[in-house]
Subunit: 431 residues, 2 copies
């Protein structure tokens, strides 16, 4: 297959999905090489237990912008894909802890969020159907009582207080073999989870207390450099350009010069690639906390001067992240999303889910009041989840490259590249 169109060519057609359709058909044509490569990679760097990856599909570019190693949103997956989750969960648990029968699930601390509780109930259901006993033990500041939540789906969810005896965790008289974290540790590493006798996955070192997005994207750059060489494409087509700034204090206006400088540098760098591909788009940069998820402290800028003009309210918003962690380090990125849904052209962003190295499905965040250059996962932001109608593992060679199964396959490939980057972080954190 000719892939010359995937290389930068001046005055390329500006139809936005041109290069992406070519990327999709290229991934399709090289499917067996890609899958063989992934198999080899997972052998060298075992996949994290589970993950969700936020992608941005700019038409000319498809890249991840966030990788969550303590995924929520399982309730947004299509019920038809639940069996895939169950089967992948069986594989994952067999690999990580073959003797486990009883599993303790530790959720996020803000357990009143109904969307999150629905996700937790779905995750519990997946693990139960996979053949395990599962109970939910909450991290709490002080000993509390068990609580049953009635969920909008009609399900009930029992959340019990966690108890530690010597080096073992319990809820009630339930003694788990394995502790599964679904809490991203934005608020730090709780002492109750340190030095457990039981296996704890994912390891504490993968929580946001120890992890930086910029480290992840450095690994991701390595991964896409190798992958792009394998399938002979420009890595830029699948890699978000980024820069980072440490030692920022938005309230005290410390580090502002560095930030302004890096914004300019990144905007110019993005512009050069747009020029190279003949893309008539205005570059932008999203500034977000380097540690933490949930899109708090996120803003879109089109020039460095916007940083100097922030008002007090904007500064306050930028300076705190989830769990009260103060934002002192930021990462800069800017990938458009040009996928839209419905007659109103609502902006969408695909999110891909993986359990072990298996892609088990995904959904679109659909937002009617956001622009193509804005973060779609921000506080107070309401999105409609739109489940992927099909799995990401049924590429159809006889269909158009942008037909649904093939587009979903492409999402699954890019999602796994981000997963592989996380696997390499994990190896480094383990050592």
């Amino acid at each position: 297959m000719s892939i010359e169109h995937l290389h930068p060519v001046p005055h390329l057609v500006t139809a936005l999905n041109g290069p992406l359709q070519q990327l999709e058909s290229h991934l399709l044509a090289r499917q067996s090489d890609i899958e063989a490569w992934f198999r080899q990679q997972w052998h060298q760097s075992p996949a994290p237990f589970y993950a969700s990856v936020d992608l941005r599909n700019a038409g000319f570019k498809l890249a991840p912008v966030d990788t969550n190693l303590f995924p929520a949103g399982f309730n947004n997956l299509s019920p038809e894909l639940l069996p895939l989750c169950i089967q992948a969960m069986q594989s994952a648990l067999e690999r990580h802890c073959p003797d486990a029968r009883r599993i303790l699930l530790i959720p996020e601390n803000h357990t009143r969020n109904q969307y999150y509780l629905e996700s937790l109930a779905t995750l519990q259901d997946i693990i139960q159907k996979a053949g395990f006993l599962v109970r939910i033990g909450a991290l709490q500041e002080e000993p509390g009582e068990a609580r049953t939540f009635e969920l909008p789906s009609g399900r009930q969810l029992l959340v019990e207080p966690l108890r530690r005896e010597n080096n073992r965790l319990y809820v009630d008289d339930f003694s788990p073999c394995l502790v599964l974290l679904n809490n991203d540790l934005s608020a730090g590493r709780p002492a109750i989870l340190e030095n457990l006798q039981q296996m704890l996955i994912p390891p504490l070192a993968l929580g946001w207390a120890n992890r930086l997005k910029s480290d992840h994207f450095s690994r991701y750059q390595e991964v896409t450099r190798e992958f792009s060489k394998l399938i002979d494409i420009d890595p830029w087509l699948i890699t978000p350009q980024f820069l980072r700034c440490g030692e920022i204090n938005f309230m005290k206006r410390a580090g502002e010069a560095c930030l302004a400088n890096n914004i300019d540098t990144l905007l110019q760098s993005i512009q050069r690639k747009y020029d190279q591909y003949g893309l008539d788009q205005k570059p932008f940069v999203v500034v977000k906390a380097d540690a933490g998820t949930y899109g708090m402290g996120v803003m879109t800028v089109h020039s460095a001067t916007e940083i100097q003009q922030l008002n007090r309210k904007q500064r306050t918003r930028m300076s705190t992240s989830k769990g009260g962690l103060e934002t002192s380090q930021v990462i800069l990125q800017g990938v458009y999303t040009f996928e839209t849904w419905g007659d109103n052209q609502a902006v969408t962003e695909p999110v891909v889910y993986m359990i072990d190295h298996f892609v088990v499905g995904g959904f679109y965040r659909v937002h009617t009041r956001r622009g193509a250059n804005e973060n779609l996962n921000a506080p107070g932001m309401h999105f409609e989840p739109l489940a992927f109608a099909q799995p990401c593992i049924t590429p159809e060679h006889h269909m158009a490259p942008d037909a649904q199964p093939n587009r979903f396959y492409a999402y699954g490939v890019i999602g796994r590249l981000a997963l592989l980057a996380a696997a390499r972080e994990q190896l480094i954190n383990d050592s």
Copy 2:
């Protein structure tokens, strides 16, 4: 949960599905123990590469009657369950041959059967979607040409001649890493497959040239003895009673006394269990070839005298099995199937599919002109496949024990017990 009703009790209610509903609810209640036990078993005896298991659901009893280690019929599975097959295939191939990229599929010799060709095309599709290059190489008496079949589904299937150079197999210039057999070797072990440099799975020793159904069911008895102890049931509820006869020659009427004797013994033994459970059913025995599949040489008898009264045509039919193998050994079994479908009460028989140790789905053989005591997989016999509407891995504890997901779960448990018996055969054949 009280399980006393699962033990033999005189004068039990004769409603046929009473005891089975109790079995189903019992399997459901002990799900996490069952799954933990299976995980441990697969660790000790790795599952065969793939299998299909024919079950008979008598209402009061649910048991396998045939285990095929070179399964066809993949085309009868629901398209919605294809992703489960793909994911399980990825696991299976990773486990058996992590470095494989190119796979050679060796089909049955009678490749003009359109049903079989559709199954082969589906199997090829599953392996391709799992990320491998697959070509089909046929065992032929003499070198032939590649042939393209146009299938009723609209698909095309390319079947190429097999070529051996030194100790490697090829089709055309395609050099496979792995050879996957989908031929049950009823016609013996072909020399071209012996001592290959490439990995060949399943091993030749699992073909019908080396395997006996009675060995399989001996292992199955061991397996269900252990399993029944674990979950505290009478093994008879899930185990077909059987006897075997060697040295039979139907044409020469040799071994007839042994056969008649064993039929009587088995009928009496079945009657005793029926009496024990208060079941008002007439025992019967199916006589079939001990080696080979496909239900050739199969007959149902209700008394030993029927054997003595066979006419010449019946003797000829009984004396040959698939691939021309002469039937000299037979196995005797007799499990009713009381599951029916539709207004006409068509007799059905569930068939469960597994790839590695994962249950990936199944279908019902539905037959309107057969009785509850007859084999539903016989030559010239036309059945309608009815795909399982749901997977076998989504047990729903809040639903009735005989609700579809729970009935399918029960099928998956019994199917896996037969798979485990085959895994133990495999270990013995390997050593």
